[in-house]
């Protein structure tokens, strides 16, 4: 499989994970979290390596979806971390506690997310 193909698959998955529903509904049912600590964990524990420091998504072997303001509800987010689909590594509670995951969730919800491409001239070539 070419790297080009990997990234294409990642884009599809990113669309599924990141763009389906409104993020407001997803975040409403989440436990309270410390976004600052979530950012620290996100950077220290390697989340950023695949998903980007801004939660813009990326690629590992396959899907590394957009996480900024993810539409996944917290339970789905946690399930993906504990028992992920595809090749994402599983983070057991020996690495991330439920509280840590809540903090990370709070962090990705705090990210600025998308803007309108029409407002960015160089994206309209």
């Amino acid at each position: 499989m070419t790297s080009f193909e990997h990234i294409a698959r990642a884009i599809v998955a990113g669309a599924l994970y990141g763009m389906v529903a409104t993020t407001v509904a997803a975040a409403q049912n989440a436990p309270p979290g410390d976004a600052a600590n979530g950012k620290r964990l996100y950077l220290a524990d390697g989340c950023f390596t695949c998903h980007g420091r801004s939660g813009q998504g990326g690629a590992y072997n396959g899907p590394a979806p957009i996480l900024a303001k993810t539409a996944l509800p917290f339970e789905g987010f946690k399930m993906q971390i504990r028992n992920p689909v595809n090749d994402m590594p599983a983070y057991s509670d020996a690495i991330l506690s439920d509280r840590d995951i809540a903090d990370i969730y709070a962090f990705v919800q705090s990210l600025s997310g998308r803007r309108s491409p029409k407002d960015i001239a160089v994206l309209n070539n």
């Binding site: 524990d45 390697g46 950023f48 957009i66 690495i95 998308r114």
Partner: protein, 643 residues
């Protein structure tokens, strides 16, 4: 190319040189008196010892000291007869005869491209061939230099790119000087590269050299293409030509690539026309400028989607039928046409890199698979680049590009009005999905737009904004960097040339410079993205670009890591429930950070960076582009997020 003997002028050169040598011998004083007389008194110097005195008292040798021709002259003419424009080299005594002959006898034709490592030289040839559509040569020491060259040769092999590699050797043991010449000689020096070359030989005469070099060129350029190797005997290069009149340069006629069997093409057309959701997947279809047009014609005849793995410039990025970022279509297809695929099984399968490495088909049950290509016509055993077995329903041995017009015509013949209407409706849906994908890509690119480190999306968007009106050609990329194909308008055959082939690190910088060498005479603006890890394998390639005035804009995606490995280590630690916070050990390039702009300047190139603030990127690119337009290589070091 017509059959020819050594060109008359060259034969005259041989004869004239021989005559001059003879004339010189007739009038020259004895060799002993040809040297300046020794001073009568040597003050403040040691007196000559008994050995030196004995040597000076010896009679002159009867061995000849001049020659009028050499085998290297003839070899250089063979290379020129084949139309080889360049020979990338790292100079070495084992082919000094050919080297000197190229410089003097054929007036630096092929033009010598000086490289500081054999890996650079072969990779340059790989990049060049994919733009120019023909091979260039590379020469090295046949033992130690060839060992340096092997990784690049493997990349060229996996990428199915023709490269002519020459390696010096001294076949006759009694002709080897003590020391290095024994260390640098071998009985069968081609053995080390035989598993990833299409053919090799060690000619024992000049006639043998000529026939083997023309044969090598023919084999290398016949699809499936690949590198070839010729061992150059030093005596053959350096010694006078015994009988110039007997030498001839063989006639070369390129092989017409084979089309698929007419019956099989008709069967494929029938399957495609009858299908509800056909799809085309491809990788290395376009080997000439006609390839992209041929594929567009077939896709438009069927109004079906094309998923391009981008091994070559196969399909325009903004064509409405380009569905390369909608891989789910593979799972919906009832007929899949796979053209010149490199890894078909991997494309049609979901594979998980987990503790248990499972796979499942990515195709729907009953889907028919048609393959068209020549890749499997030449395989070797040891290295496993052929990939896993894929079941297919119709396997057509034929060159993809050459077979496409016949397949397209067969499709058109089978398309009645009802089919035509259905195809049109299908095409409209695909076009709408394509536009949605483009809009989604633009939206995705906005996330983290002002962040530092800079996102790869912004890096690519800023570059395109400044080069979009040039006659540009992108000839290098980094691992998993898809933004150019998502955001840019690729529509010319030379605007993309694929990647390394073998995923051997160190390809990107020298191969991009080789491609830039090919683009230079066409006046194109060459640019490439490259990773920082890859850059450090062959930074000396920049010196070659500066020395030979090869303009290229090289944008380093500097994530300060071998990032794919970084991610793998995080996964390994997570699998064990162990510490994931130390995975930068052995995977990152920091402490100290490498200053690539300074490295570039040290090589004679223009350097900008490190750029950490996205606001600084556009002005830096403007300055670097101005340097490129002045004929220089320019590096812009962009500190980016990992992916």
């Amino acid at each position: 190319m017509p059959e020819r003997r050594i060109a008359d002028s060259s034969r005259r050169n041989f004869l004239r040189a021989a005559g001059l040598a003879g004339a010189a011998a007739a009038v020259a004083p004895p060799a002993a008196t040809a040297f300046p007389a020794a001073p009568q008194e040597i003050s403040k110097a040691a007196l000559p010892g008994p050995l030196q005195t004995a040597v000076e008292a010896l009679s002159p040798s009867s061995d000849p000291v001049n020659q009028g021709s050499s085998g290297g002259d003839f070899m250089a003419e063979v290379l020129n007869a084949l139309g080889i424009e360049y020979m990338a080299i790292n100079c070495a005594s084992s082919y000094r005869g050919l080297h000197e002959a190229i410089v003097n006898h054929t007036n630096n034709r092929p033009e010598i491209i000086t490289c500081v490592h054999e890996d650079i030289a072969v990779h340059m040839a790989q990049g060049y061939a994919k733009i120019e559509g023909k091979p260039m040569a590379m020469a090295c020491h046949g033992v130690v230099g060839l060992q340096h060259a092997t990784m690049a040769m493997y990349n060229a092999w996996c990428d199915r790119v023709p490269v002519l590699v020459f390696g010096g050797n001294i076949m006759e043991a009694d002709k080897r000087a003590p020391g290095a010449e024994w260390l640098h000689a071998g009985v069968d020096i081609g053995q080390i590269v035989r598993e990833f070359t299409k053919w090799d030989d060690q000619p024992a005469s000049l006639t043998h050299f000529a026939e083997s070099t023309v044969r090598a060129y023919k084999i290398a350029t016949t699809p499936p293409m690949g590198p070839v190797f010729i061992a150059l005997d030093a005596e053959l290069q350096e010694n006078p030509i015994a009988d110039a009149e007997s030498l001839r340069i063989p006639k070369f006629a390129p092989v017409v690539p084979p089309q698929g069997d007419a019956g099989a093409i008709a069967e494929a057309a029938k399957m495609l026309v009858e299908a509800q959701n056909p799809i085309i997947v491809c990788d290395r279809v376009a080997r000439t400028p006609a390839g992209m047009a041929n594929l567009v014609a077939l896709a438009e005849a069927l109004q079906c989607g094309v998923i391009d793995n981008a091994g070559r410039m196969n399909f325009p990025s903004r064509h409405p039928l380009n569905q390369s970022f909608r891989r789910a279509l593979i799972g919906q297809a009832d007929v899949i046409l796979a053209i010149e695929m490199n890894d078909l099984w991997g494309t049609l399968t979901h594979f998980s890199d987990r503790i248990v490495r499972r796979s499942r088909p990515g195709t729907k049950p009953g889907a028919k698979v048609i393959t068209l290509g020549v890749r499997d016509l030449y395989l070797k055993s040891n290295y496993q680049d052929f990939g896993r077995w894929q079941d297919v329903d119709l396997d057509i041995a034929g060159d993809g590009e050459a077979s496409l017009p016949a397949l397209t015509e067969a499709v058109k013949r089978l398309t009645d009005d009802a089919k035509s209407s259905a195809f049109e409706a299908r095409g409209k849906k695909l076009a709408a999905a394509h536009l949605a994908m483009v809009e989604q890509s633009k939206s995705d690119a906005t996330i983290g737009w002002d962040a530092s480190p800079i996102t790869t999306a912004r890096m690519c968007a800023e570059v395109y904004n400044q080069i979009k009106n040039e006659d540009w050609s992108v000839v290098g990329t980094t691992i998993r960097l898809s933004w150019p194909h998502r955001l840019w308008d690729f529509n010319k055959p030379y605007q993309w040339n694929g990647s390394s082939g073998g995923a051997g690190v160190g390809y990107n910088l020298p191969a991009s410079i080789g491609a830039a060498l090919a683009n230079k005479k066409h006046g194109r603006f060459t640019l490439a993205f490259g990773g920082d890890g890859d850059f450090m394998f062959n930074p000396g390639a920049l010196w070659t670009a500066a020395h030979h005035q090869i303009p290229i804009l090289y944008v380093i995606q500097n994530n300060r890591a071998y990032h794919q490995e970084y991610m793998y280590l995080v996964a390994m630690a997570a699998r064990h429930g162990r510490d994931v916070t130390k995975m930068d050990i052995g995977t990152t390039l920091k402490d100290p950070n490498i200053d690539y702009a300074t490295v570039a300047r040290g090589m004679g190139a223009y350097g900008e960076g490190p750029i950490t603030d996205p606001q600084d990127l556009a002005p830096a690119l403007t300055r670097a582009i101005a340097a490129v337009k002045s004929g220089r290589p320019a590096v812009v070091d962009v500190v980016t997020d990992p992916r």
